[in-house]
């Protein structure tokens, strides 16, 4: 593969500072308010040395009452999203694929650090987003599906589970371990060809030569990283910076914190330089217009960018 070095600063734009310095793009046509825009919230503060990450309650603390039942139902849905809510999941992903250890693990976008940050005003879609709306975004983009209704049993159960995991966490205060704690962009930019080498050595065993993942019968074991069974072009994980954070802290599975910043960025770029399902917000059927409106200032991403002679963002079904 030809080297596709792209200086990240050009693309970083205001994306990494989203919610702090980003200008409202009020010039665009009104949007469907259901489409969560996947903008990044401010970065999590670093964890002071010697201090533990927030500890969510243990399973043994789930009360044996109606509330506890809904917590368990939410946890079941979180782990088995495709199996238990198939009408809302368009690919082969489950919530737990990106939120390791059932949404408990620090730096794997733990729910205990997300739930207490909502509702949150986001300039990009110029409205206050509730936690439920944020989850609807997950279904729409990361699961490439259809968001369940805000008052549905599914989202109520998932909310209840997140609320329970946040027991004792401060409200409205960004906690260390929130999100994916992205490594800084490497000085010389990232390199897709180098990322391919990292992928073949570290990732391919589980995720397959073509990023297709692995299944046992109908049950997905290793999630697809690109292609029709993976997250779509609107998912937060399509940003190289976001994927780099997830990968560095959590991959290879159980051996997080072993890849360098450079390796994490390179392999994230390799993964996100492949086609995946179209961004459901596609504007007038145009990749360029969609890039301009939703991707140009959304972190570092390759939507609408020409890589190896091909414009990415065509989508796959």
């Amino acid at each position: 593969m030809k080297n596709a070095k792209i200086f990240p600063a050009l693309l970083l734009g205001a994306g990494l500072l989203a919610g702090v310095a980003q200008a409202a793009d009020s010039t665009n046509a009104p949007r469907n308010p259901r489409l969560d825009d996947q903008t990044q919230l401010p970065k999590a503060p670093p964890k002071p040395a010697r201090q533990q990450y927030f500890q969510p309650p243990a399973d043994t603390d789930i009360p044996n009452n109606a509330f506890g039942e809904l917590v368990r139902r939410g946890q079941d849905l979180f782990m088995n999203t495709k199996a238990l809510a198939p009408e809302y999941v368009g690919n082969e992903m489950n919530c737990v694929n990106c939120h390791i250890d059932r949404g408990r693990k620090a730096n794997s976008a733990p729910l205990w650090a997300a739930y207490p940050m909502y509702p949150a005003y986001r300039k990009k879609n110029n409205k206050v987003n509730t936690y439920v709306e944020r989850m609807q975004g997950c279904f729409q983009f990361s699961m490439n599906g259809k968001p369940p209704a805000a008052d549905s049993e599914i989202l109520t159960a998932l909310t209840t589970y997140a609320y329970w995991l946040s027991t004792g966490a401060p409200t409205g205060k960004a906690l260390p371990g929130r999100g994916f704690d992205e490594p800084p962009p490497p000085k010389g930019g990232y390199d897709i060809a180098r990322g391919k080498a990292v992928y073949e050595k570290q990732c391919q065993l589980c995720h397959g030569e073509n990023g297709e993942g692995k299944k046992v019968g109908v049950t997905s074991v290793f999630p697809a990283l690109w292609g029709k069974d993976s997250y779509n072009w609107g998912a937060g994980m399509h940003r190289i910076n976001t994927a780099a954070g997830f990968i560095q802290h959590n991959m290879p599975l159980g051996r997080g914190e072993t890849l360098s910043d450079q390796e994490a960025w390179d392999v994230a770029a390799y993964i996100n330089s492949h086609e995946r399902p179209q961004d459901p917000r596609l504007v007038n059927g145009s990749i360029d217009e969609t890039r301009k409106r939703y991707h140009a200032d959304d972190g570092v991403n390759l939507y609408g960018v020409v890589v190896n002679g091909k414009k990415l963002g065509q989508g796959v079904q």
């Binding site: 399973d59 199996a83 074991v221 159980g254 997080g256």
Partner: protein, 248 residues
């Protein structure tokens, strides 16, 4: 009127008698099933069935693993790793060294073709913290230990060529392997006891080092509990039904 029974020519009767005499000629093509029963061409390559059972299901109590239905590539890799010393084992290393590459390929294929383990179809119950099921289905992420089923598949059925089935495998074998990946730490001398030297891991063939750190961070009690859990999942009457979603 009864028809007379046609008389067979004595030549036809001779043919079945001649066939066994031709078998040694076929053995050049390395018959996997034959190697299981009788061993390899080199007498040091003992018959597999001695320890792994006539049906390939192993001898659980002795810690001899089930090989029936394991992936062909996985078995071939293990034999290659025994040969290369990445897996140390006093019994298996000499055998692996005595098998020709053709014999390894043939015996791996033959075992892969035997029936896979049948797994209990009962739905997965919510595991209790501190149990073997908990390690298997939830892991111990505070020590970066993923749940076993995340790689070995639902109910430990096995995934692809790199993640072998755990369900129905000998508990002692699973326990031994985790300890082989771990080795033992050195114990300092005290007034009453002598120092014990560290034993390095005797199994060093896990792809990407995925198993070693897990084994190091599991306690003996956890290893035993999780081994017992998976051993207990095997041998139902029906085959594993892949068409059903398996819940975590």
């Amino acid at each position: 009127m009864r028809k007379p029974v046609p008389q067979r020519s004595p030549r036809f009767l001779l043919l079945p008698l001649l066939l066994p005499a031709l078998l040694p000629l076929l053995a050049h093509a390395a018959d996997g099933s034959d190697i299981m029963q009788k061993g390899g061409a080199n007498p040091a390559a003992m018959p597999c069935i001695t320890c792994h059972g006539t049906d390939g299901k192993g001898m659980a109590a002795a810690g001899f693993p089930r090989l029936a239905g394991l992936p062909e590539a996985y078995i071939a890799k293990q034999l290659a790793d025994f040969k290369a010393g990445h897996r140390e084992n006093a019994v298996m290393q000499p055998i692996a060294q005595s098998l020709t590459p053709e014999e390894v390929a043939a015996v791996a294929k033959a075992y892969a073709e035997l029936p896979k383990v049948n797994i209990k179809p009962t739905p997965v119950e919510r595991p209790q913290p501190g149990s073997g099921a908990w390690i298997a289905l939830r892991g111990a992420w505070e020590r970066n230990i993923p749940e076993c089923t995340l790689c070995h598949g639902p109910a430990g059925v096995g995934v692809g060529d790199a993640f072998p089935p755990l369900a129905g495998q000998s508990a002692l074998y699973i326990e031994n392997q985790l300890k082989a990946w771990r080795g033992t730490k050195a114990v300092a001398a005290t007034r009453k006891t002598k120092a014990v030297a560290a034993v390095p891991p005797s199994r060093r063939n896990d792809p990407n080092g995925l198993m070693a750190h897990i084994a190091v961070d599991l306690s003996d009690a956890e290893i035993k509990a999780v081994a017992d859990y998976f051993a207990g999942l095997g041998e139902s009457k029906e085959a594993f039904d892949e068409s059903q979603h398996r819940l975590r």
